[in-house]
Structure formats: structure tokens, C-alpha cells
Symmetry: C2
């Protein structure tokens, strides 16, 4: 069955795109609210859908022959440039996991890398002059190779995970040296820095390259760290969390999407701290929407007006 | 050795007091930062010390013959009225516990109720006309008996714990019906309401009596719930947490202390929401200071100027 397209075809204020690199996958997910055996997922999918509400997006990823037309249509319907979505013989990356009762933990049941095992991101020439780059959680050396292919990048950063931090540390450190920002969760920040206290952990990480660090804390919000200060964002209080899969990636998409929409350009000097803080709130907003339905389903109906209304709600609920 | 008194003798804008009821105790505490075999503790101690930075405090508690002169002096030095501090034959309540490495969990090693076992709070006549009442975590029937002794109370509320929620539920519900506000942690809110989701848990609890609920989330901050909205307060980001003992009680002391200082009077109608939000931030400020040293040690030197500076820091770190 073909899904209905999103209600508001994107219309952007400016033409500068975010290049998003990462996995496009099929996921099997079980939460206390239900179970879906196979649905569209993957970091690059969530990041792109989320960022597409703010700015044009160009995706770089690989899928197999089984990648469904309706999933291509969903991405294309959000105006996402699919020139860099490679289709190769074999099957699309498949991941399955089950969440704990409180949804703060999840157990991976299956990881079939399939065509993703041979992923060597190649940027189409039409991507290379774009100013914004968001690298989803893939092998650090691949993230680095993408960064090197971008010729006009002004703001680059992304995500990583415990596996790379532990077993690919040197590669990861070389990658981070070239990033402007890093978005990771609190456990990863502690592992990367060797410091339990987040304030000290952040100080160490800001010595590794990125001038901006966002530590995501799931339902508890996020903290933005820069050398000159930090910003505390509480988590949005959802009535129901159906499926947290992709929430962190949607956060990243909202964060970079908002900064791109504002046209921030570090060549003009530092990005204003309040702009980064607002990007963190937009990231939180997008992560919160993601949890409201299974997989990417919320993005089939979500509108920019709903996003801006929730941003305002954040303002109301945090002002004192 | 006699400890030095606090640097700024309290001087209040108004004469209306908060009556604080609960335990005054000796604690043995071990955290990853150290170990103290015996030091001043107890909910009423922490609440009173914290509230004393905002408003006059009158304490109701019981201690044994071993209660030290220097501990009396510390409380008196903060201007706390000790008329209701009963001294009876026997030993003061003793509690000992050890914290986990991340300090998010603690294990009780010893609880010697001693004279606290027979605690029947009796309010001195000079306390009964005061407008503000903060009931620390004691048996709900005792909390209720204190509430009944207050003749002019305008704003009453307090704390409870899992033990009373599970085993004294009916008593607790009768007590809560007469409270304006309840301050509990997230686990207790879930237990009391039978709802995992905090938003729904809060809605149920607000049906039990209190018009204001504050859910404390430790390092992650707190949420203020009223029927007409909620306020999200992130946790203060400490460089070092030496000892979290008493932080929740100091939160309560800052919360009620600030409201008393402002002279809020529900007889005038509803307390303005922004006033309650600011009370939550002052609560968070006081809880954060409490963690910076062992036991009550931070209150030996803490000044109101430091409190107000941290409040401003909260403003800076949360504005967007």
C-alpha cells in the first residue's frame, strides 16, 4: 500500500543544502506499545526526514534491490535529493531490536549488514560544494573520507557510538579533529572522555577538535557545551512514547537543519551561542515527534506548523 | 571543635515563618569521594538550613541526649527557632548508607530510630499561627496531626517515600487531601499513581488533593505540575558531587523558603505559575549546593549572594 505523502511539500528560504551520510535500513522493532517486523529505518533516513523540515537535504547511502518504491517516494516527497542513494545487488541493511518496559534500554536481536557492509560513500559532484555536512553513525574512517570529499563545507559534524569509541579510537580521534560539532549520548561522552562527570567529560571532548558538543540524555533532554558556557535543555514531556528508535538521529536532523535554515556561516566568526541553543531545542522537538509513532510514521503527517508550535511550548514550559 | 557560624546572619524582609517538621539525625555516609562516620543530618535539618536563607524557620523535631552543642549552634546560628526541638532521654536517630559509584543509588546500612521511634510532634503555641508548613518525610498520620495543629496555615505540603506509599497508602491519601503541594521523586510519583508516564502520573496525583506537584529527578532536574501546565527545570551541572544526602530536602527548603519570602498567599487566589517556577529553580539551586560538600557542611559557609548568583546562572544556562 502506498503511504500518503507529507501534507506540506517543502519550500525553503534558501538553497544551501545539508549533506547527510549514514545508513538507510529496514528495522524490526518491539516496544511495550507494539511490534513491527519490518519498516523503513536507518540513521540517514531519520536525519534526512527531520532536517528536511528546515532545509534542502542531499542523502548519501546504500540500499539493496529490496528497497521499496514507497520508501523512495517518502524521502523524495520530502524533497530529499536521492542522487547519492546508491542501489546495489543484495539486500538492504536490516536491524531488529526490542525495548525494555521503560524504553530506556534496548537489546539488539539481529544486525544483517547486507549491502551496508561494503558501503564506500561516494559524493556526487552536485553535493561537494554544499556548506553543511551531517555524518550519521558509521565507521569513523568512512566519515573522514566523506569530509575530505566536501570541497566547500563550512559546518561539519555528526554522531558516533560506543563500538567505534572502544575499538576504533585512533580512527575516531582523527575524524573528530576535523569536526565542528559532535552529537553523542551521555554514556558515549563518558566513554570517549574517560570522565564520569559530564562537565569534565565535555571539557576533555572539546579538546579533541569540535568547538561544539551536544550531549543527548534521552527523555532527560540535552546539554550543549562550548568552551565559553553550556546550555541545559530539558526533555519534552511526552504523553506516550511509542518507539524511541531514531529519536537521536531526528535530534541531529533538527539541529543541523535549523542551523542551515538560519544560514549560519562560521566563516563570519563564531556561531552565536543563542543560535546553537535554539538548534538544540529544535533537535529536541524533532526527537520528541519521532517517538510518537512507530519508525518514521510521524513524518508522514508532521507539519512545520506543528514543529514551531512545539518549539513555542518548550519556551513556555522552561521560562521562569 | 566548634564549627564557625555562617557568614551572613539571616535578616528577613518579613516575619512570617515556615514551620518545618521531620527528622533531626546523625548520619554515616560513604560516597566515592569519602566517608564520614557520624555527622549532622535528617530531613528537618536540611530543609530548615536551606529555607533559612529565605525566611524565618521554626523546627519541630526530637533528638536524644547525645545531640551535640555544636549542632544546636549551627541551627541557631542560622536563626532557626528551636522551641520545637524536643530533647528526650535516649539517643538521636542514626542512619548510615553507602552510595553507588555514579551516586544515583544508595544502600541503607543501618537505621537506628532511637528517640525518633516515639516522635509525636507537638507544636509550641508560638508556631501555630504561622502561614507556611513543610512536612518532611515521616509517617503520614503524624504529618496529618501536625497539619491539624496549625491554626493559620495558608500553604502546606511536603514529602513522602516509597515505604509510606506502599504500606500506609490509606493514611497517606488522607494526609495528601489536605496538602497544597507534594514534592516527591519520579519513582515515588510512579508508585503513588500506578502510571509509568510522568505526565499521566502527575494528572492522577493532582486528583488526590495537592494543586501543585513537584517531581524531583535528581541530577536531571525537576518538573512542576499544575492542572493548567507544567514547568521543566533541568538539573544544575555540578563539577563535583561529593554527597547527595539531603539534596531533596534542601530542594524542598528552597522551594517553600522562596515562596514564603515572596509572601505568597493562596487566600488571594492562585499562586502565580511563574512564582512557583522560580521556587523550583531556587529549590534546584539549594539542592545543588547541598551536594558540594559532605552532609550539611556547605551551609557553614554558603551565602545568599552565592545562591542568587547560581539562580542567575540557571537563567543564563536555560535561556534560548
Amino acid at each position: 500500500m502506498k503511504q500518503p505523502g507529507p501534507p506540506d511539500p517543502p519550500c525553503y528560504n534558501q538553497a544551501m543544502s545539508v549533506v547527510v551520510v549514514g545508513s538507510v535500513a529496514y528495522d524490526g522493532v518491539e516496544t511495550p506499545h507494539g511490534k513491527v517486523d519490518r519498516m523503513l529505518g536507518g540513521a540517514a533516513t531519520y536525519i534526512s526526514l527531520s532536517a528536511s523540515y528546515f532545509t534542502p537535504v542531499k542523502i548519501v547511502a546504500v540500499v539493496g534491490e529490496d528497497f521499496a518504491r514507497e520508501d523512495v517516494d517518502l524521502l523524495a516527497g520530502r524533497g530529499i535529493d536521492l542522487t547519492g542513494l546508491e542501489r546495489v545487488p543484495g539486500k538492504t541493511f536490516f536491524w531488529a531490536g526490542v525495548y525494555s518496559a521503560d524504553m530506556n534500554d534496548r537489546t539488539t536481536l539481529r544486525t544483517d549488514l547486507n549491502v551496508f557492509a561494503g558501503f564506500q560513500p561516494k559524493l556526487p559532484p552536485s553535493y561537494r560544494q554544499e556548506p553543511y555536512l551531517l555524518l550519521g553513525n558509521i565507521q569513523p574512517a568512512l566519515q573522514r573520507s566523506v569530509r575530505a570529499q566536501m570541497e566547500g563545507v563550512r559546518l561539519a559534524g555528526g554522531d558516533t557510538m560506543n563500538y567505534w569509541i572502544q575499538d576504533y579510537r585512533e580512527e575516531l580521534l582523527a575524524t573528530l579533529r576535523e569536526w565542528d560539532f559532535l552529537l553523542i549520548n551521555d554514556g558515549e561522552a563518558r566513554m570517549l572522555s574517560g570522565e564520569h562527570n559530564l562537565r569534565r567529560a565535555a571539557a576533555r571532548i572539546l579538546d579533541l577538535g569540535p568547538h561544539t558538543l551536544v550531549v543527548k540524555r534521552g527523555e532527560y533532554g540535552a546539554i550543549l557545551f562550548r568552551r565559553d558556557g553550556h546550555f541545559l535543555a530539558p526533555g519534552y514531556l511526552l504523553e506516550d512514547v511509542f518507539d524511541p528508535t531514531g529519536a537521536g538521529d531526528c535530534f541531529a536532523g533538527g539541529f543541523i537543519g535549523y542551523l542551515a535554515e538560519q544560514g549560519v556561516d562560521p566563516r563570519d566568526g563564531e556561531i552565536p551561542f543563542p543560535e546553537l541553543s535554539r538548534a538544540v531545542i529544535y533537535g529536541s522537538v524533532m526527537g520528541s515527534f519521532c517517538c510518537e509513532k512507530f519508525g518514521v510514521d510521524r513524518f508522514r503527517t508532521l507539519t512545520r506548523a506543528e514543529i514551531d508550535a512545539r518549539y513555542q511550548e518548550f519556551k513556555t514550559c522552561t521560562a521562569f
